[in-house]
Symmetry: C2
């Protein structure tokens, strides 16, 4: 079951929710940035996004609730990390698809 922050377990992840999350260009940008360095952990503010703080929070929540990222609350800030292992287990081809896209985006 999802934890109090809304992180779903791998078997709770739904491909439809994942697709919907990745349909937005800003969210794809976040995910691709996190893929740039495996196991990379970045704060929410460490992304160059053309939206305000409130919208940023919204996008991170969508990604978190879809299961794409894991967020850790540090009190006054939050870290973000791609859920590599969980995604590899649940949707192995998804990571390859995104990786290919990251390569093509150069």
């Amino acid at each position: 079951m999802a934890d109090e922050m809304g992180h779903p377990e791998p078997d709770e992840m739904e491909i439809g929710t994942i697709f919907a999350a990745l349909a937005d260009p800003i969210r794809r940008r976040i995910v691709l940035a996190l893929m740039a360095d495996r196991d990379g952990i970045r704060h929410c503010s460490a992304f160059d996004l053309p939206v305000t703080k409130a919208t940023r929070t919204h996008h991170f929540r969508v990604l978190r609730e879809a299961g794409l990222i894991r967020q850790v609350d540090l009190g006054n800030s939050r870290t973000n990390q791609l859920r590599w292992a969980d995604l590899e287990q649940r949707f192995p081809d998804l990571l390859r698809l995104l990786a290919a896209e990251a390569g093509a985006a150069e």
Copy 2:
């Protein structure tokens, strides 16, 4: 360039549009049904969908303009076919991801 029916060339396909198209459960259902038999060609009415004709037309257009299916106008009816080869060339992992989902849906 896209033809008069709106079929994009492989290099015109965008992953964001693909994701948006596949975010809808009805459209996923159509694609998975087309994947059931490779090179399968089916008429629009040959899908069991809980929507009216107009909505059906809408979904087929979204899939077509995303590049997922190819439609052929027969005047009085239309055939639908998954663009297997084009997708394999442009997003090879996407087909595997969908195939895995089709298997899991049984």
